[in-house]
């Protein structure tokens, strides 16, 4: 691999990311999968970086999950998205900051559609006005939450209490990055680094001390694919995609996986458990699984947050091996305890315990 050549290409795919005053829209599935991530993101943005991130209680799902599952028609989706824009406009914000990769892809797709077909935009404006009495301005800047963390990666590194370095060997942790398909595969110019060389997670990991692994199936989908998973009869295809990736990355002995999509950490994490149950295979070192993190969780760990406040107890492939390697102290007794001393229900058959 010619590293210099890749870095030169990455330079051509930079995008404009707003500095401050963000209007944050959450992911509908993420709060169930890894609920600590969005909380950690808001904490990092507001308390560490002192940025203005506004979140309106009336915003909804972008309906992208229904659109990509062939359930919600595109005009309905566009009207729902127009309502999100209307609430943003009413709140006085112009920089849209979606937490979800599919939302990001959908907003990009809709804005691009309206750019090429202004008559559709007019039609949606009329529909929204009739349905809700609202009007909207289109966002001036659209950046995914991982873009913003990427933008402020150096500031986070400056405040870091830990680095992604194995404390026993002094070597950087070997990290696999996995970018959501809807981030840059649909509109390469809208992602940092484009579709072939997305740099958004690589930039964070390299800044925080880790080493990125370039492996053959690096750009392969995690397998979620909406209908591939949502229809039970298709789940064999979903898990086969994840397995393809695990088989491909295993020889490079990764310590952890970092993702920027709601579905990818879910499936790369849970499918490891299912493959272990079905075939008895694990893909990490010493018979362990490979812990999977969201970028907010990694940023939180680097900043020294308590792993259980980040929601790492929700992972099926346990994260303790990575915490031990970095040297993060944690209390195993508190893993399933809430702050009001009510115990969480525990996952069963965990990997790495």
């Amino acid at each position: 691999m010619n590293i210099e050549g890749k870095k030169a290409i990455w330079k051509d795919y930079q995008k404009e990311i707003a500095d401050d005053k963000y209007y944050y829209v959450r992911s509908c599935v993420r709060q169930n999968f890894f609920p600590g991530s969005e909380t950690a993101f808001l904490k990092i943005m507001r308390e560490e970086l002192k940025k203005d991130v506004y979140e309106h209680p009336c915003h909804t799902s972008c309906s992208g999950i229904g659109y990509h599952s062939d359930i919600v028609p595109v005009e309905t989706t566009m009207t729902i998205v127009a309502r999100q824009f209307a609430i943003m406009t009413e709140a006085g914000y112009e920089n849209l900051l979606p937490s979800c990769i599919t939302s990001f892809g959908l907003y990009t797709e809709i804005l691009d559609t309206w750019h090429h077909f202004p008559e559709i935009e007019e039609k949606i404006r009329v529909q929204l006005k009739k349905a809700t009495g609202r009007e909207f301005n289109k966002p001036k800047n659209l950046a995914h939450a991982s873009d913003v963390i990427y933008k402020f990666r150096k500031e986070i590194a400056a405040k870091a209490k830990f680095k992604l370095i194995n404390k026993n060997t002094g070597e950087p942790l070997k990290v696999v990055d996995h970018i959501g398909c809807h981030y840059a595969k649909m509109f390469p110019s809208k992602g940092v680094g484009g579709a072939e060389y997305p740099f958004v997670l690589t930039g964070m990991i390299e800044e925080w001390g880790g080493q990125i692994i370039d492996y053959p199936e690096r750009r392969h989908c995690c397998g979620f694919g909406f209908r591939q998973y949502l229809v039970q009869a298709n789940r064999g295809f979903s898990i086969a995609c994840s397995k393809e990736k695990f088989e491909s990355m295993k020889p490079y002995k990764p310590d952890m996986i970092i993702t920027n999509c709601p579905g990818c950490p879910m499936f790369l994490d849970r499918w490891q458990y299912v493959i272990n149950e079905m075939e008895g295979k694990r893909y990490g070192q010493n018979g362990e699984g490979i812990p999977v993190f969201t970028y907010e969780e990694v940023a939180g760990l680097v900043l020294g947050y308590n792993p259980w406040d980040l929601g790492l107890q929700m992972h099926q492939t346990d994260c303790e091996p990575v915490l031990d390697k970095i040297g993060i102290e944690y209390s195993p007794e508190d893993k399933y305890n809430t702050k009001i001393n009510v115990e969480y229900s525990k996952n069963h058959n965990l990997i790495n315990v």
Partner: protein, 114 residues
């Protein structure tokens, strides 16, 4: 094994790095006309076995070249070695000899005749 209501689908990717192409190499060495095949399917069209079963010599040639030997093993025994395919081949490939050599190569590898 846990019951999940589904199983892991097998990949249909053709992996040239892990496939065993020794059978193809054995044939290429002894029957150079194998390289001339343009996969037109004339052999399959005239094949008596192919008219009565799913057997296809064109498919067989492709599978041998790819090194997907398990599928070749399953179907090669259906060939009756009548030689009609050789007569119609527009490239003059000795298809009959390819089948004979493949069977011989499998016999050498597996230790028994197909």
């Amino acid at each position: 094994m846990g019951k999940f209501g589904f199983t892991i689908s097998k990949g249909r990717q053709i992996d040239y790095d892990s496939n065993d192409r020794s059978i193809a190499a054995y044939i290429f060495e002894r029957e150079p006309s194998f390289r001339l095949c343009i996969e037109c399917g004339g052999c399959s069209a005239t094949c008596t076995t192919g008219n009565l079963t799913k057997f296809s010599l064109r498919e067989l040639n492709i599978l041998i070249k790819r090194g997907e030997n398990d599928q070749v093993r399953e179907s090669i025994g259906k060939c009756m070695l009548c030689g009609k395919c050789t007569l119609v081949c527009p490239r003059g490939v000795n298809t009959r000899n390819i089948v004979s050599l493949a069977k011989k190569a499998f016999q050498l590898t597996d230790g028994y005749a197909i």
